[in-house]
């Protein structure tokens, strides 16, 4: 399988605190990678390192490399804005903008310089369909995004991320604030999106990780302790501590 993302001896610091230690892993095309681990283990930090969203944090610095299609995203000459366009992100707390549903999805297209209205309309519809939201909102696209329910807002954020045609989708506990029905919808969605994107999803929910991911990475104290095919991690983990975490003995 083709490697999409490759982390190579990646270290990350918030001021003097080391948040990620020597992370090396390959993420393949068209797979879903679930990242699990106790709170504060570096899962989200790792996710944000992949689209360089950690840049906005004062006092953050890194060592080592992360490569996308063989290209080092921490290269000096790299276009960070371009990287973020290629790597979509869905945040833990859904963050619709105070705009209409349509304008939320169109936002990414507009800031990337697309002006063709019919193309934008087409793309908005397609993205909302891909995010399994179209049927629920097609009659009220001009209404505020804040009128949507929590689950719908999160799917709107996914649609917004899909609209700019990313290659990778990073999801930071996208279903943590949602009820079981909404969670199921998001999980089905992830399953469908995998044919087009590589997806990395952080989750606190073991069953969710087991259900949706092809590969599972177990992080602890900033280290990657285990990374393998999901069925193997959940049935025959190579480390005792992984088993303890998965079975709920700590964490």
């Amino acid at each position: 399988m083709d490697i999409k993302i490759r982390a190579d001896k990646f270290n990350f610091f918030y001021n003097e605190t080391m948040a990620l230690k020597n992370i090396s892993m390959n993420i393949f095309k068209n797979t879903v990678v679930g990242i699990i681990g106790p709170s504060g283990c570096g899962k989200s930090t790792f996710l944000r390192s992949i689209n360089r969203m950690n840049d906005v944090i004062f006092g953050a610095r890194h060592e080592g490399d992360i490569l996308i299609d063989g290209e080092n995203i921490y290269d000096k000459d790299i276009d960070v804005v371009g990287i973020r366009r290629r790597i979509g992100m869905v945040f833990q707390k859904s963050n619709p903008f105070p705009k209409s549903i349509f304008d939320n999805v169109a936002y990414g297209l507009k800031i990337n310089g697309i002006k063709d209205r019919s193309y934008i309309a087409q793309k908005v519809e397609k993205s909302l369909q891909d995010a399994a939201l179209w049927n629920e909102v097609k009659d009220r696209l001009s209404k505020s995004a804040f009128d949507l329910s929590g689950g719908q807002q999160q799917r709107l954020c996914i649609a917004r991320a899909l609209a700019v045609e990313p290659e990778v989708l990073l999801m930071d506990e996208p279903a943590s604030a949602l009820d079981p029905t909404a969670t199921l919808k998001i999980e089905e969605l992830i399953h469908e999106l995998k044919s087009k994107y590589s997806i990395i999803i952080v989750t606190h929910n073991m069953q969710q990780a087991a259900r949706i991911s092809d590969y599972t990475a177990f992080f602890m104290m900033g280290e990657l302790l285990e990374y393998d095919i999901t069925s193997k991690v959940f049935t025959k983990p190579s480390k005792k501590i992984t088993e303890d975490y998965i079975t709920g003995r700590f964490g």
Binding site: V56, F58, V81, G82, F91, N95, F97, Y107, I111, R160
Partner: protein
């Protein structure tokens, strides 16, 4: 009544008393000025020059002077203050130096206005050779208003959640695109309101214009930005403390006070209307 209920009763009533004391003071001042000032107000009062050593006639030059000075103040303080706030809040690192600068700006808004007046004399009137004129006074008031404008604008920017900034950055927006399209539209109403309230305060100031351009008695309209001028707050000060027959011009002084308050109220009212419209537009 048990102890808990008594505490509740006392707390509530103490707070309510605070509220009524403030309300009462405001009501007394307003009533005093309006009841005494309204007699002096008529079309002649706001449309003619003062006559006969300011014992008769109107306050037209003072109204015009105050408006012109406030416009100069706005031209200096609004863009500069907003730009500065955007830089501090969005671009500057949260280092010790920026915190120090931010603290200094907050402290500057507490500097007495007379100090700004003296500074204005040194900088604009003498060093820049602008002389005592509308421009010098406007610029001095502009400097005085800047800390206000910056602080108010910064608060408005802070009230925009970071998730808007991160959300747009994650979609591939540049920092400036993110600020322009996903931060400023939501901060502008608050920024403008705070700024306009600062201008309203500047319009009512006496000390900064005292040395930099306001004149005692000029029964004609200013010819250019380099003319001396009459201003409502200074006119009021003269009428109530410096005039040769204070008791005779007392009604005119009250009239002047009412015009000044009305002008400040008008500016504040404009701020409210503006904020309402900007908020409404944003919701659509």
């Amino acid at each position: 009544m048990n102890k808990k209920e008594f505490g509740q009763f006392m707390g509530f009533n103490l707070l309510r008393m605070c509220f009524f004391i403030v309300l009462l003071t405001l009501a007394v001042i307003s009533f005093d000025i309006i009841s005494k000032g309204i007699k002096a107000i008529n079309w002649e009062f706001i449309s003619t020059m003062p006559r006969n050593g300011m014992t008769e006639g109107g306050v037209l030059p003072a109204i015009i002077g105050t408006i012109m000075v406030t416009v100069i103040t706005a031209i200096l303080a609004v863009p500069l203050g907003m730009g500065c706030a955007i830089y501090i809040n969005e671009y500057a690192n949260n280092s010790k130096i920026t915190r120090l600068i931010r603290m200094s700006i907050r402290n500057l808004s507490g500097v007495p206005s007379i100090v700004y007046g003296l500074f204005g004399v040194v900088l604009f009137v003498q060093f820049m050779h602008l002389g005592t004129c509308i421009l010098s006074s406007g610029l001095t008031l502009g400097l005085m208003t800047l800390p206000w404008t910056i602080t108010a604008s910064e608060e408005a920017l802070k009230s925009v959640p970071n998730s808007y900034r991160y959300g747009s950055l994650a979609l591939g927006a540049s920092k400036w695109q993110s600020i322009r399209t996903n931060v400023l539209p939501y901060a502008i109403p608050g920024m403008l309101t705070g700024t306009i309230l600062g201008l309203a305060r500047a319009a009512g100031e006496t000390a900064p214009i005292l040395f930099t351009g306001a004149a005692f008695y000029l029964p004609f309209l200013p010819k250019s930005l380099f003319s001396q001028f009459m201003a409502l707050p200074y006119h009021l000060y003269i009428m109530s403390t410096q005039h040769h027959s204070i008791s005779k011009v007392r009604p005119l002084a009250y009239g002047t006070a009412l015009v000044l308050i009305a002008l400040v109220f008008l500016i504040n009212f404009f701020a409210i209307i503006l904020r309402y419209h900007l908020r409404k537009r944003r919701m659509e």
